[in-house]
C-alpha cells in the first residue's frame, strides 16, 4: 500500500477502486473522495469531449507539494490524487482526490483543499471540443492579443 505514488497522471481511465484500496487504513474513520467529471456543457456551450494536456514533470512535483501541505494542515493520514491526460468523453473522471483522517472534518477539508489547489496550481490545460465543431482552450480568453 505505501508504495502507491500519491500523485499520478493517467492516460487511461482512472481506477477508482484501486485508489480506495490504497487508502484503506483502520486508524481512520473518515474517507472523503472527490471526482471531477466531464460535463456536457461549459459556459452555456454544448461540450462533446475534452482533451487534457499535462506537463507531467512539474505537475507531479507540484501535486505532491499540494498533498504534503494538505496532510500537514488538516492532519490527514493519507491523501492521493490521480489526474487524467489525453482525450476524455462525457462522464469520464478527469481527476480523483482521496483523503483519509481519523475524523470527518479533516478528511472533508483536506480533500477540498487539494482539489482547489490542483485547479489553480498544476500545469494542466483543458481543451474543450464543442458540439459545433469548434475547439477551445479553457480559461484562455486573455491568452490572445485582442487586437489580433
Amino acid at each position: 500500500m505505501n508504495d502507491t505514488p500519491l500523485f499520478q497522471v493517467s492516460a487511461t481511465p482512472i481506477d477508482i477502486p484501486a485508489i480506495r484500496q490504497a487508502m484503506l487504513d483502520t486508524d481512520c474513520g473518515a474517507y472523503a473522495q472527490f471526482e471531477g467529471w466531464i460535463r456536457n456543457k461549459n459556459d452555456g456551450r454544448a461540450v462533446d469531449r475534452l482533451e487534457y494536456e499535462v506537463y507531467e514533470p512539474l505537475a507531479v512535483a507540484e501535486g505532491l507539494r499540494i498533498i504534503e501541505e494538505a496532510m500537514q494542515r488538516f492532519k490527514l493520514k493519507r491523501a492521493m490524487v490521480v489526474h487524467r491526460s489525453g482525450l476524455l468523453e462525457l462522464g469520464d473522471s478527469a481527476v480523483v482526490v482521496a483523503a483519509t483522517s481519523p475524523h470527518r472534518d479533516e478528511a472533508f477539508k483536506g480533500c477540498r483543499y487539494i482539489i482547489d489547489e490542483v485547479k489553480v496550481r498544476l500545469p494542466i490545460w483543458k481543451k474543450e471540443h464543442y458540439a459545433s465543431g469548434e475547439r477551445e482552450w479553457v480559461n484562455c480568453q486573455e491568452c490572445e492579443n485582442p487586437r489580433n
Binding site: 478527469a94 481527476v95 485547479k119 481543451k127
Partner: protein, 80 residues
C-alpha cells in the same frame, strides 16, 4: 546578452506556433522576457493569470534569469 531556452504550452504553443525556441536576450526576469517575446509573437496577449517555471521549478515573474535557463510559459491552467 545571455542565451535562454523557452518552452510554450497549450494555448501559448498554438498562438506562437512553436513548442520551444532558444534566443539571446537582455531580459533579467521572466516578465521582461515574456514582454520581449510579444514582439516576436504578436498574437500573444497579456499574461494576467499565466504561470511561469524556470528549469522545471515553479517561479515568480520577477525571479532572476540566468544564462542557459529554460523558461516555461504556462497559460492560465484549467486542470481538475
Amino acid at each position: 546578452m545571455k542565451q535562454v531556452h523557452v518552452r510554450w504550452f497549450a494555448a501559448y504553443r498554438d498562438l506562437t506556433g512553436v513548442e520551444s525556441e532558444t534566443l539571446d536576450t537582455e531580459a533579467t526576469t521572466p516578465a521582461a522576457l515574456f514582454d520581449e517575446l510579444k514582439g516576436r509573437h504578436p498574437r500573444l496577449g497579456a499574461r494576467h493569470a499565466a504561470l511561469v517555471a524556470i528549469n522545471d521549478e515553479m517561479s515568480d515573474w520577477s525571479s532572476p534569469l540566468n544564462p542557459g535557463d529554460t523558461v516555461l510559459f504556462f497559460p492560465p491552467v484549467s486542470g481538475g
